[in-house]
Amino acid sequence: MKRRETLPIVPECALPDALASLETIRSQDKLLRRLINAELEPLQAFGQGKP
């Protein structure tokens, strides 16, 4: 049940593959967050008063 809640739109039969890919997704996301923080967020903070 817990698995269904974490990946709500993944059909039951595809769960093992979906869960196995989470680590890849996490590391790709981490890379891109770093880029966004370096390239985009400072501009937003400066221009739009984002804390």
């Binding site: 059909p11 039969c13 979906a18 997704i25 966004i36 985009l40």
Partner: protein, 444 residues
């Protein structure tokens, strides 16, 4: 293989004009190649009823045969997208690219094999047979437009249409020794094309020379007022700055490296300046493209996937499952990252006129290695790592054959430019093609 079967479009049109040959001669000689080789190479999924009737239609491509990747709609003929899921799907209309090429008089000869749903680079296809390389049939064609590349390389059609989301036109073209051109994103219509990832998918062309690719593209571009619609002419290389992103090339097969370096020397011999370019953020580029591709593909497939899970091949099943697991915010961040990366990419062209790099890091691998769980992931990266950046940016890119390995396998030389610089990229390619050795199965 007869030489008739492997004429370029330009050569064939010349001979058709002087009545040295007829459309039927071309069609029949290519049909013979198909009958002889298709069972082994698995280039076509469906052959269209003999196109002779179509050859009566007049137009710029009158008498020219074109093969169409089987994820592109042809009205009244099944379009499987290389999958059991769509095995009985018959579209009710032609894709725009099919409509435009048919209106120009092209004869459509068949629907070509692909990696299932264009979601892979090998063209190992569990439903319609593994597409094999005509240079060595123990090796893969590459994909996902593998059948299109095989059809052109082996003389089954004068030219072919494919789609490219991460390298799917350029990779098989390079491995099979033909030209593969991916235009700037959006110049060719995606209407009537089964999508892989809509913000990256681009209809492209596989041909025997650069000028043929330009000819098909000009006939297929959506907006006839586009500034990119100039017929390219060979461009003198004197003082041209060719940027080479050496920091992203490795690990490069040694024979691919030597063919590539020899090609650069030929360009330098004509006065080009080869400039080292540090290509930054390659890992971020790959991550962004991967997340966007997987998420968009999963969005398209989610209903079919739940209903027909077992009809998908194992590798594509795994990739769609991965796409379904991507949270919306992660997809959105991948799109934001793409905007930042695009600015960086465009800035490169303040320093150079065009980028040059090998199309793939390796020549065609064996079917066996491409199926092994141990070697397949490395092969995928070696086949797509140098093509995918240009999909993320929507940039024009072309591969031209530049030599053969000692085992007689073709090597591709890739050029890429700033978005909408298609005429310049094609012009450089026209010039370089004349400097490079003739790579064709006939010349072997």
């Amino acid at each position: 293989m007869t030489e008739l079967a492997t004429l370029t479009i330009g050569e064939a049109l010349g001979m058709l004009a002087t009545k040295e040959l007829s459309p039927r001669d071309i069609l029949e000689s290519q049909r013979r190649v198909i009958l002889r080789s298709n069972k082994k190479l698995h280039a076509f999924i469906t052959l269209l009823p003999t196109g002779v009737k179509q050859t009566r239609r007049k137009g710029e491509l009158h008498g020219i045969t074109v093969a169409v990747k089987d994820n592109i709609y042809v009205k009244g003929h099944r379009t499987t997208a290389g999958s059991k899921v769509f095995r009985n799907f018959v579209p009710a209309f032609d894709a725009d690219v099919v409509k435009l090429l048919s209106a120009a008089g092209a004869t459509l000869v068949g629907k070509t094999n692909l990696h299932e749903f264009a979601f892979g680079a090998t063209n190992i296809n569990p439903h319609f047979g593994d597409c094999r390389n005509p240079w060595d049939d123990e090796r893969i064609s590459g994909g996902s437009s593998g059948g299109s590349a095989v059809a052109v390389a082996s003389g089954m059609a004068c030219a072919a249409v494919g789609t490219d989301t991460g390298g799917s036109v350029r990779t098989p073209a390079a491995l099979c020794g033909v030209v593969g051109y991916k235009p700037t994103y959006g110049l060719t219509s995606r209407r009537g094309v089964v999508p892989l990832a809509w913000s990256l998918d681009t209809v492209g062309f596989l041909t025997r020379c650069v000028s043929d690719a330009a000819r098909l593209a000009l006939l297929s571009f959506e907006s006839k007022s586009s500034p990119t619609l100039r017929r390219p002419k060979p461009m003198p290389l004197k003082r041209t700055r060719i940027g080479v992103p050496r920091n992203i090339l490795e690990p490069l097969d040694s024979e691919v490296r030597s063919s590539f370096e020899r090609s650069l020397e030929l360009a330098e011999g004509e006065g080009a300046r080869v400039v080292d370019v540090k290509f930054l953020h390659i890992e971020e580029i790959a991550a962004s493209r991967s997340l966007i591709t997987h998420a968009e593909a999963a969005s398209y497939h989610r209903e079919y996937f739940a209903a027909k899970f077992k009809d998908y091949g194992k590798d594509v099943r795994r990739r769609i499952a991965q796409g379904l697991a991507i949270p919306a915010v992660v997809y959105l961040d991948a799109l934001r990252a793409r905007s930042a990366l695009l600015e960086y990419y465009r800035s490169i062209f303040r320093r150079v006129d065009v980028l040059a790099l090998p199309t793939t890091r390796i020549p065609a691998p064996t079917v066996k290695a491409s199926k092994s769980d141990r070697t397949a992931p490395g092969i995928r990266t070696a086949l797509l790592g140098l093509t995918e950046p240009f999909n993320l940016f929507g940039a024009p890119s072309i591969t031209i054959p530049c030599g053969l390995t000692r085992d007689g396998l073709p090597v591709g030389f890739q050029l890429a430019g700033d978005i909408y610089s298609d005429p310049a990229v094609l012009s450089f390619a026209l010039t370089l093609e004349r400097l490079f050795p003739n790579v064709s199965l006939n010349a072997r």
